[in-house]
Amino acid sequence: MTTRRGLITDSFKVVKKARTAEKQEKTPSPPPSQNEDQTETIREEELQKLQQFDLDWRFGPCTGISRLERWERAKLHDLNPPEEIRELLQMCTDPEYSQSLWSEYPF
C-alpha cells in the first residue's frame, strides 16, 4: 500500500472491466488496418488459451504463482501440460501473459 497522499486509484487498482471498456473505445477511432486487427484477435486467442490453462483443474491451484511456474510443476509431476502453453509463455514477457488470471486480486 502506498503511503503518499494520492488518488484512491493508487491503493485500489482500476477494476478489469474498465480496462476492457477502454480497449473497445480505442479500436473504433481511426479505421484500423488489417494487420492490427489480426494481431488483436491472435492476442485475444492466446490469452483465452492461457486462461483455460489457468482454470484446468488437473494442474492444481493457479493463484499466487506465475503461469510458467505452474507449467513447470505440472511437467515435474508428469501431468502432461500442453507444450504450446510453454511456447506462448516463453515468447511473451507481458505480465498479462505470465501472471495468472487472479493475479490482480490479493489472495
Binding site: R58, G60, P61, T63, G64, I65, R73, L79
Partner: protein
C-alpha cells in the same frame, strides 16, 4: 556394544605407575568417516509468504497419487478400479486415493476465538487452555481429492489417523453419500539402497534437548561428563579407546531451554526491560563454549529445535554461524537444518527435532513416539500435519517432506524416553527407529553402532541435592 569395547582392554592404567620414558602416552586416533550431507532439499532460499497453502497439498497429492495407485494394485489386484470422487457410483466396489482430513471439535480455531471475543460471551465459554490431546469421540474423517470430498466410515481407526496423510481406500459409496471403508493402504516405505558392510565398530552419538540457559542448571554436570567422555578425557585407556570409536556427534534440537523463549520483554514496560538482555544471548554463549570443546575433537552436526533461535516454520533453517564465533572456526562444526538428512559412511540418517512427532501425538490417540515414527514412515511423509496444525513454509513445486529414499536410521529428538525399534519394509528395507531422549530431564544420550545398526542409551547421573545417603557418580551403559 560400546561398553564391551571399553571393558576389553587389560587392566586399569589409572592407578599404575606412569609409563616409562620411551613408551610415551597412548594416543588414540579417532575413526573418521565418509560424510555427505544431503539436506539441500530442506533449504529454503528466497522466501515468499504471499502464497496459499493449497499448493503444498496439491503437490503432495500429485506426488503420492501414482505411488498409491501402485500399492492399491498390489494389494487388491491389478484390476481394481481406481476412481476419482467425481466419478463414483453408488454401490460400486472401488478404490479412491486422496488426502485425509479429520474434523475435530476440539481443534483450536482462530475463528471460534474471534467469535467469542466479538460476541463478548461469558468466561465459561471462552476457548479452553492448551490441552494434551485434541481428539474426541465426535471426530469425523473425510477424504479429499483434487475436486471433491467425501465422509468416511467403516474399518478405519479415526483416532490413529491425522489430517494431511495421503492414503488409498477400498470400499463403496453408500446411498446416503458416505463412503464405507473395507480396507485401506498407505504408500509404505520407499526403496532403500543397501548399506555397505563395515569392518569395525563405529559409533554415532545422538543427543537432544540440552536445555541450556534454563534457570535450573541440573543437567550441566551431565553435559560436561558427556563432552568429556566423547573427547576422551574420561576414564582410563580402555574407555579412551572406546571413545575414539565415536566418530560423529549429532545434536537433535532444543539446545536452548524453553525458558529462553520468555516473551516478557515484549509485554513488559520499556523502563523495566531497558538494560536486560534476552535470555537466549547468554544461553547461546554457553552453547558456543560447549561446542568448542566438542568440535576440537569430533565432527558435530547441530540441528535447531522448537526453542532455538531460528525460524518457526518447518523446515527450520540452520542456526547462523555468527552466533558461534568460537566454534565456527573449526570445519568440524556442521550447522544443519531440521529435518536432517545425511549419509554417514554409507548409512543414511534422516530425522527431526521432534516437532512433527509431538504434533501427531496431540491430534491422534498414539502416545508412543516410536509408534508415531513408524506411522510417519509407513505414510511416507515426515510431517503429515503440516501445514494444518504444524507451521510450514508454503511450498508450491514439491512437498519436500515426502520420503523419496528409505533411510537406514530414522530418528526424532526430544522424546520423553529412549526407545528404539527395528522395522522391515515390504521390499526388504530395514530401518532402525530411534527416539532420542531429552537430555535436560533424562540425562541420557544414544549411541548407534554403524556396523550392526544397534542403538544403546548412555546415561550420566550425578549427585542429586536432596539425597541423604551417599550416591555414586556413575556412567552407566
Amino acid at each position: 556394544m560400546f561398553s564391551d569395547l571399553s571393558a576389553q582392554k587389560e587392566g586399569s592404567s589409572l592407578l599404575c605407575r606412569p609409563a616409562s620414558e620411551d613408551q610415551g602416552p597412548a594416543v588414540f586416533e579417532r575413526t573418521s568417516l565418509a560424510y555427505s550431507p544431503s539436506s539441500e532439499r530442506y533449504g529454503v532460499g528466497e522466501r515468499s509468504f504471499s502464497r496459499q497453502y493449497a499448493h503444498i497439498y496439491a503437490a503432495r497429492l500429485m506426488q503420492m497419487r501414482p505411488l498409491l495407485s501402485e500399492r492399491a494394485k498390489e494389494k487388491w489386484g491389478s484390476d481394481v478400479l481406481i476412481r476419482k470422487l467425481c466419478d463414483l457410483e453408488t454401490g460400486e466396489q472401488c478404490c479412491i486415493v486422496g488426502t485425509l482430513f479429520k474434523r475435530m471439535e476440539l481443534q483450536p480455531s482462530i475463528l471460534k476465538e474471534i467469535t467469542h471475543k466479538k460476541m463478548k460471551l461469558p468466561h465459561n465459554l471462552l476457548p479452553q487452555p492448551a490441552r494434551a490431546k485434541y481428539i474426541s469421540e465426535t471426530d469425523e474423517l473425510i477424504l479429499e481429492d483434487e475436486l471433491q470430498r467425501i465422509k468416511l466410515e467403516g474399518k478405519i481407526d479415526k483416532n490413529k489417523c491425522v489430517t494431511g496423510s495421503v492414503i488409498a481406500i477400498y470400499g463403496a459409496e453408500r446411498n446416503d453419500g458416505k463412503f464405507t471403508v473395507e480396507d485401506f493402504c498407505t504408500a509404505d516405505l520407499p526403496l532403500q539402497t543397501a548399506r555397505p558392510s563395515l569392518s569395525s565398530d563405529r559409533f554415532v552419538l545422538l543427543a537432544s534437548g540440552l536445555g541450556l540457559g534454563s534457570s535450573r542448571a541440573d543437567s550441566m554436570l551431565g553435559l560436561q561428563l558427556l563432552v568429556d567422555m566423547v573427547t576422551g578425557q574420561l576414564g582410563d585407556l580402555g574407555e579412551q579407546s572406546g571413545a575414539a570409536t565415536i566418530s560423529r556427534v549429532l545434536l537433535a534440537g532444543n539446545l536452548l531451554s524453553q525458558s529462553t523463549q520468555d516473551k516478557d520483554a515484549s509485554t513488559k514496560a520499556k523502563y523495566l526491560t531497558k538494560k536486560t538482555q534476552a535470555g537466549s544471548v547468554e544461553a547461546i554463549r554457553l552453547l558456543d563454549e560447549l561446542l568448542l570443546q566438542l568440535v576440537a575433537s569430533v565432527p558435530v552436526d547441530v540441528m535447531p529445535g522448537q526453542y532455538d533461535p531460528t525460524n518457526y516454520t518447518l523446515p527450520q533453517q540452520p542456526l547462523h554461524r555468527c552466533m558461534f564465533p568460537l566454534s565456527s572456526v573449526y570445519p568440524t562444526l556442521q550447522l544443519a537444518s531440521n529435518p536432517y538428512q545425511a549419509d554417514i559412511d554409507g548409512v543414511r540418517f534422516l530425522g527431526t527435532s521432534g516437532q512433527n512427532v509431538c504434533d501427531i501425538q496431540r491430534y491422534s490417540s498414539m502416545d508412543s513416539h516410536v509408534e508415531i515414527l513408524e506411522e510417519t514412515l509407513r505414510l511416507r511423509h515426515l510431517a503429515p500435519t503440516a501445514p494444518d496444525t504444524l507451521g510450514c513454509y508454503p511450498f508450491y513445486l514439491k512437498d519436500p517432506f515426502i520420503l523419496e529414499e528409505c533411510p537406514h536410521v530414522y530418528f526424532s529428538g526430544n522424546a520423553p524416553a529412549f526407545e528404539s525399534k527395528h522395522i522391515k519394509g515390504p521390499d526388504g528395507q530395514e530401518v532402525l527407529l530411534v527416539t532420542v531422549p531429552e537430555f535436560s530431564s533424562t540425562q541420557t544420550a544414544c549411541l548407534i553402532n554403524l556396523r550392526t545398526l544397534h542403538c544403546e542409551p548412555v546415561s550420566f547421573s550425578a549427585f542429586s541435592a536432596d539425597e541423604d545417603e551417599e550416591s555414586e557418580m556413575n556412567i552407566s551403559h
